[in-house]
Symmetry: C2
Subunit: 332 residues, 2 copies
């Protein structure tokens, strides 16, 4: 099934089911007010949502309405855990190579992962509002899963069974803040502002054969200022699959329902597939010609991120954002 969250003025929005073709939706308020509430009690709630979903797809919804991405918050507008892996090691290798750094062998055996803040996740059409474009604003197109409870020490096989939903992420990065921040050794804080999510989250069965081996075998399209710049296959060159990423996170902690785990920038070795973040293109330019040519994003730029299934249909709807200059405000 497909789920989304309606902007209703509250912090967590209102859960709704969305038809498979993304054309209609129906509030799930009789079943669960929010997606977190559904995830908190998934075994009980999911079958009820599934029923609404069947009704909607068969045109039997009593209160259906036109679905529009612009009325969506992130499927999970606030998350208690947002951890992002770097599962496409090709991306990491390219970026490091461009700055003359070797890739340690361990990077092929042990996932890289950072934990971010889940208090302010952006919806699919929310602006990427930042103070300065000199910060080096970059998109990062990724796939992410939402888990049920995963006990500490879970194996990848056990973790696999606890994946409830999938969605797309734009893990916005501030490239010019990263070197100084990583040099301090504690990971990203300021260089990873709020991330944005696709309008719709889907259960793994929606992907059919494209969900295999804990990976999504579909192309991820990134369109920057109306130009298609990337269409890598998300199932190719993914060194660590989602179950492995979750197990990595769960090594020394329980991972609780509603945790979001991202794949990291989707990246194929085949350069013809383009790029899912500008840093990677700049790295290729650096390696080829000694200096980066493509600039980072400027105010007014747009980014569209979408994944199409075998029939060319959008699976999750599109992230469609503009980069804008933020104004300082004193209170919300």
């Amino acid at each position: 099934m497909k789920l989304a969250t309606l902007k209703d003025g509250t912090r967590d929005g209102q859960l709704m089911v969305v038809s498979r073709d993304l054309k209609t939706a129906q509030l799930a308020d009789g079943v669960a007010r929010t997606l977190q509430k559904a995830l908190d009690d998934w075994t009980f709630i999911a079958p009820q949502l599934e029923q609404l979903y069947q009704d909607l797809n068969q045109g039997r919804a009593r209160r259906g309405f036109d679905f529009e991405s612009k009325h969506c918050m992130a499927p999970l507008p606030r998350a208690f855990q947002w951890a992002d892996g770097s599962a496409y090691v090709n991306h990491v290798e390219l970026v490091r190579k461009a700055r003359g750094a070797e890739l340690p062998q361990s990077f092929w055996e042990e996932p890289l992962m950072y934990q971010g803040g889940g208090d302010n996740l952006l919806g699919p059409t929310d602006d990427i509002a930042l103070f300065h474009d000199q910060w080096g604003i970059d998109f990062e197109a990724e796939v992410a899963v939402i888990t049920d409870d995963v006990p500490m020490g879970a194996t990848p096989d056990q973790a696999h069974q606890r994946i409830r939903l999938l969605m797309l992420v734009n893990d916005v990065s501030l490239r010019n803040l990263i070197p100084e921040e990583l040099a301090k050794g504690f990971g990203f804080v300021q260089s990873k502002p709020a991330s944005s999510f696709s309008p719709v989250a889907v259960t793994p069965d929606e992907l059919g054969d494209a969900w295999k081996g804990g990976k999504v075998h579909l192309p991820l399209l990134s369109t920057w200022n109306d130009k298609l710049v990337g269409k890598p296959q998300a199932g190719v060159d993914m060194t660590f699959n989602f179950p492995q990423l979750i197990a990595h996170l769960a090594k020394s902690r329980n991972v609780r329902a509603g945790s979001i785990i991202g794949s990291g920038t989707v990246s194929n070795k085949d350069a013809k597939r383009g790029y899912s973040c500008i840093a990677e293109q700049r790295a290729r330019e650096m390696i080829a010609g000694g200096e980066p040519v493509t600039p980072f994003m400027a105010f007014g730029d747009t980014i569209r991120i979408e994944m199409l299934n075998g029939d060319g249909k959008s699976v999750f709807g599109a992230i469609e954002q503009a980069v804008t200059q933020a104004e300082a405000r004193k209170v919300f």
Copy 2:
């Protein structure tokens, strides 16, 4: 006022108000079911909680009962943002010195901070259950604040006004997992398992004169296996105050209501004040004698963390935990 969360079998527990002397409590179910709900609408909810608190302190509570820490979850059992600073740079300097690393000058000017997961915060008497004590289990006694909404770009002065509650934290660390993890450059994930919190969170006014300049001017007591090992003054040698830590986090993001920001291990330059984490003691031993002597925690060890006010009364109640060996489980 003083607030706590009763273990009631739900994921977020039931909010209650606790008397100033920590002897009695009353459910706040008529006002707000959870602390997050209170924080989501603080201006409206806080005065109602304050009224309950006044009634309780004056012996006029209609449904008062004995307050017991062991029935508490963390005040905020799930948080959408949990970011921990290293505001006591003395601690960082000692640990680095012990391994022969210089402290960059920038560490005195720009806070170190990492983001952790808020999905599984432990209550004050919950076990620290881990698979292996060879991981180098250590406590870290800290102070933390819970914020209201803080807009991106907030100044320290603005951030100061958005601090709603204070509490204590045991930011458990797995010292033997840290070197390898930090070497990868993305910060802590596996080396920072679930953190634990004091039974009670208090509004800044409860601290009276001890809340000054964005710091808590009271001693923080750490008692390891019934032996007092640390009593540093939390207001001394705190290089970055809480408003500065919050402003650091808010540089490129909105920080939303219910965000927890920790101080990092409380540490005084005066070695007679003892230590708030074993790593610091081992660092001092290393510097003095060339090798660490004090071992990390073993299964069966206990740790008690508490803060006393000028009258010798407990402000937040005590974190009182045992380290136990976890058993693998398949599902929750």
